[in-house]
Subunit: 250 residues, 4 copies
């Protein structure tokens, strides 16, 4: 079992998750990424280039999340940093009006985002409460990525507003409950589209129709903030950090 | 089919739902109440005393909610006022710490509260968009009751904070989307325990351990506010009204 | 001295103040309006048509506000309803960028809006704490009108955002402090331009450049909400009610 | 004129201001501190130990603030980092009920805190708009320290709630206005008492009656966050960071 800190990232996209995995790895942590499909090229590249460990997990399933934490604890050790980076957005429901949204998909968005945040938060708390406090008195950090929809309920976005607000309420409750136990819970709504530089040098982004490079959050810079939050002294913890680009309209 | 306004209340407890049913009925509306068990004595008394129509409905089930609206529209006419009054709180999860909460129950809380609000809101919007605007230009009012947990994520209350925040995000999105269509969506967090006078004159309240009568919201007064919101002129709609007793600590 | 309730409105424009004066008067209250210039035609018309009492007062001056309350208490009796309806907006500073705003005017906006709210709130509290509780246990109601700038700091609006947020913070502190004393303090941000029908039937509004009638708050309807707040049962007080027209973008 | 970045700190106490001055100086910046009395021992020690430049300034006076910026620009160069660190709290008004507070002092608190933030923000913006963008496209950073009273209007704290909320509204407006110009405006409410280690090793703190060391924010750690904000990439700017100790009740 390693002396190095273990970081576990739930959600395996090419944006924030990949940026976090690379940064945490460069900072000397043992990094695991869990995704529904751990065999995506982006995750294979993280393994090849940064020694990242890949795990399969449907984070909306209680048993699957319990198994994931057991496996990671047994393979790598108890994590000191867990990032929940699933927003549950689905193309089929995006920008649908309230009467158009398919209830089955809405339910899935809610379970993939809010409920999976609960499951991951619960297992992370359970594991971290057994960690010895570090020199700073801290047992671990749990970070929840969120979206603009956590800050405001936009029209034609009811399902996503519900799921994002739900995740926000959970994070806030956990922060108040676990702070005095030495676990730093923080909530990071990214109030912008997220863009990143692809291998061919072109700019990729999540949302179709967005063209201004300037107005997208760079996931490498988001990862910097996550690391700062993990290293923040417990006398001055931030609970919520909303990140948005300089040109974003808010 | 009646010329009178139809009001549909989802959730059939002895507090806000019963107070609303009595008031709306006294104000000349045709009133329906839907509950998982419509044969509860409190609902039978509303039928006997106020002509309230009772319907069975598990509001977390898409089909059941669709059937409820079909039935009410066919029996009584399309509603102009819909109140979602389910908070999904469950004794088995109340004040449980994050690592103690049973995931199966947490999921149920989320579906009973947030997801049922979506299902009810969707069917209400669908029905109301077919209403002719009234003299005031309004097609209908959708009210979401909520709890303190919608305003703040309290410790040892993660599941409930998640479900209540989710409902809040949904309501806000619906208000922005449906306002320009002439549908008034409002969100009413009750930041207090709710107490009411029982038939024997004693004071009943929802939460064990609360003893101060003075510090509980009276559901008859909450119903007054719901009626004011329903009658509010569209030039000055309130979206959110937080109600709390004068002695409440906030 | 009258048995009728005394209402005192600070700020004497043709919008909310006039609407409140007319409504409170129709509801049987003795109504006083204080303005820097009490001889404006709109106020003379309120006296002629509704028996409204007019008082001169520069509400940013401690002595002037103290004298006003002394005079009103002595002439009409201690008020049970006080409305602070000054926003301090000044044409010369409106939509000015941060580096263009004249510090002397900014200071004046801050004193006219925030500081006058403190002075009025202080004198209102002092007078009401001597009122006997009414049947509902209430000694009085203090209402603070506010603007969109209390909800969000818009660009090119720094002085006004500062003054409006300041008034909001004061109101919230007073609500928490005075609620348990039986004084209902409420804060009413009007998130819209305010328009009203002039004597010639045309539509007047405060802000140049606004043309949509539909998208302005009607001050008569705002006055309705103020009366509801004054009459609200203390078991279910609302502290903040944001009012906006159905077509408003928020 | 130096090639080094110039940082100007307004407010010269032994807590955040001194911690910032030491850190910014260690990071290679030219540091100036302005205070009503620049001859306080804590400032003399900063000069002696860290080469900090001291300036006299009553930050509630327009002319004084204009002169300060002229002098600093001329002596040291245009600042790229300005910290407004005055909260205007005064012992004579602390925890006073609304009817006890002396209006003259309340006015002073408002001018010392909110209005001085405007004056400093205005001069800082004026200077920075003339800065060449750095490699990151940024012309400068303006940071406003604030207090718990900016987040919530506590009872018996009306004047302070007003002043703190006012400062918050100003900062938010400035952030929206100046972001697209490449100036990062951020607001940092410290939701806690602030404590620090004195030269004799004992723990000093601002508020009498606070005894738990664990529950006070360490100003050296606050300064770390200020530096992170100054260095934050413009694709992911945080506007507001609330800092509180792990044991703080919120």
């Amino acid at each position: 079992m390693s002396e190095r800190e273990v970081a576990l990232i739930i959600g395996g996209g090419p944006g924030i998750s990949a940026s976090c995995a690379r940064l945490f790895s460069r900072e000397g942590m043992v990094v695991a990424v869990a995704a529904r499909n751990p065999d995506k090229p982006v995750l294979e590249a993280l393994e090849a280039g940064h020694g990242v460990h890949r795990y399969p997990c449907d984070a909306a399933e209680p048993e699957a999340v319990a198994r994931l934490f057991e496996q990671v604890c047994s393979d790598l050790g108890r994590p000191r940093l867990v990032v929940h980076n699933i927003d549950g957005r689905m193309a089929d429901i995006f920008r649908k009006g309230i009467i158009e949204a398919d209830p089955t998909l809405v339910r899935q968005v809610l379970l993939n985002s809010s409920f999976s945040a609960f499951l991951v938060g619960q297992q992370a708390a359970r594991a971290m409460l057994e960690n010895e406090p570090d020199a700073n008195g801290v047992r671990g950090t749990i970070l929840f990525t969120n979206a603009s929809a956590a800050l405001k309920g936009y029209p034609r976005s009811g399902a996503f507003a519900m799921a994002s607000h739900g995740k926000s309420g959970l994070a806030q409750s956990m922060a108040r409950e676990l702070g005095p136990e030495g676990i730093h819970v923080a909530h990071v709504p990214i109030d912008a589209a997220i863009g990143w530089t692809q291998e061919d040098g072109s700019r990729a982004h999540r949302l179709a129709g967005t063209t201004k490079d300037d107005n997208m959050a760079d996931p490498d810079r988001i990862a910097d903030v996550y690391l700062q939050l993990h290293r923040q002294h417990r006398s001055t913890w931030a609970y919520e950090v909303v990140l948005r680009p300089w040109l974003e309209n808010w």
